[in-house]
């Protein structure tokens, strides 16, 4: 499996030095490793695949093999300074439950996800009448792990019902190996990805 490094720079930028971090869907652990090197964090991860966990162990990280949908309830409230869900929320069965849980266990939550409102995605559906298959969403509908697609606007609208405050909101594009490029003009239309930093309203 090849892991893309989408939005890592944006995530790293948000994390305070020495903080306690949980990375949900940490994959091969590269983001956590970068966070340890650059921000001296105390990090741990949750990853669904055996190979991912093995690669994390190889890097000297602490990683728990598990399904995010099944197990966050054992973490105590505010266990982490930051909980990261990078390119993972769209893979979960119940994003609503996951959002509630991460807001509970983390002081701040950092999310990024493929933006279904992106212009070429919209074109595919609007003009071709087909589910988009592109670099952003590289799967046919029947094999896609992306089971809950959303737009930047959709996520923004969640804040009221789920009682969270949006600390930071960005739309960005990414070409592999390069830095994230922020899209300021109509982000929901011109961004491949959405990026949010949120915290619960107590």
């Amino acid at each position: 499996m090849k892991y893309q490094r989408i939005g890592y720079d944006l995530v790293i930028n948000e994390i305070d030095k020495g903080s306690k971090v949980l990375d949900l869907g940490c994959g091969d652990g590269v983001l956590l490793e970068m966070l340890q090197d650059e921000k001296d964090v105390k990090g741990s991860g949750v990853e669904i695949s055996e190979e991912g966990v093995t690669m994390c162990v190889e890097k000297g990280l602490y990683c728990y093999q598990g399904d995010i949908d099944e197990g966050l309830s054992d973490y105590l409230d505010n266990s982490f300074d930051f909980v990261i869900i990078n390119q993972t929320i769209q893979n979960t069965k119940r994003p609503d439950h996951v959002i509630e849980e991460v807001l509970r266990i983390g002081r701040r939550v950092i999310l990024s996800f493929p933006n279904f409102g992106y212009i070429s995605t919209r074109f595919s559906l609007l003009l071709l009448g087909r589910m988009p298959v592109n670099r952003l969403l590289p799967y046919e509908w029947y094999e896609s792990p992306n089971i809950h697609l959303l737009t930047i606007k959709d996520f923004r609208n969640m804040s009221k019902k789920f009682r969270f405050r949006i600390v930071r909101e960005k739309g960005f594009c990414f070409t592999s190996g390069k830095k994230s490029r922020i899209r300021r003009l109509i982000p929901n239309l011109f961004s491949q990805y959405g990026f949010f930093v949120i915290e619960k309203i107590s």
């Binding site: 966990v53 093995t54 162990v57 890097k59 000297g60 093999q65 598990g66 054992d74």
Partner: protein
Amino acid sequence: MEITNSPGGLTTEFFTFAENGGFNLLCGRSIGPVTLAYETYGTLNSEKNNAVLILHALSGDAHAAGCNDTTGKNPGWWDGYIGPGKPFDTDKYFFICSNVIGGCSGSTGPASINPETGKQWGMDFPIVTIEDMVRAQYHLVKYLGIEKLLAVAGGSMGGMQALQWSITFPEMINSCICIAASASLSAQGIAFNEVGRQAIINDPNWNHGNYYDSKFPGAGLSLARMIGHITYMSEKHMHERFGRNFQSDNMSKKNMDSEFSIESYLHYQGVKFVDRFDANSYIYITRAIDYFDLNDNGRGRLTEAFEKAKANFLIISFNTDWLYPTAEAKKVVQALRITGKNVNFNEIDTENGHDAFLLPNKTLEKNISSFLKNEFKKSTGK
């Protein structure tokens, strides 16, 4: 089996402590002298910070690696994992494996002589627990001049001991590798152990454990071992390895003497076991496994039990292990996470069931070697 990369020139050594009695057991009784058989592999460095204690399972012994006789046969029970360049790399680390108290491979157990009577203990031997095993090992580790172990590691009952080490001697271990084990055995596991014990007890030769001067209850022990072996394999593994094949090719006539391959395998395992294991030890050690419950160390709560643990953990389960299922391992992981410990957990996909930790497995090998390497690096700065 061809043996490569095994540590050579090994001998089993014996360490005796509590010469005048006074090793207090959890049951309230006190015994001594206590002898532990042990082997070591690799070299203890001058800083004495590269020592790993290997903990064996129910039927294991001190002979974990290499071939300790001149014939080049009889490899240790974890020889695939311990040796030069292997996951437990003897070029880098120093390994100790000791036989448990209550055992029968050179350590004090029911087949040892009771100093008060001059005869074998038999069933007068005090009941031992996993914690007693760990407390006895503590004396060995101290005797070897090691203040802090880089790691303790084991599978099955060895994994139970590893977890117990992290709770009983939190200051003495840097990390803990626990494979195919849990904080307590399930009712199903206890049930199988009890059937095994009953097989021994109902052997007419058993004679309430007093058989050392007469006939050995071999039939009972052999049957106990056969039952055990069923629980170590997954249904799929058993099916793929033996299927419905017959042992001999010309099975034209089916009769009561004909034998399926699986039967033949179990018989062989049973008979082989009788040659090297004491029936009373089997009873004592399975009891220790049954009674093991880390919840007792935390007033009924696992989180409280692990509160004082300081080690970093590598917990491994196998998806086809029904004796120590993943769900049980996860309870340990959960308690460790709640108490904020550093824990790696990996459920490995294999068809080999509980026995998987003894068999070659790339993922397991990689997880162990990586974990150990990183733990050594973190604890020593090297």
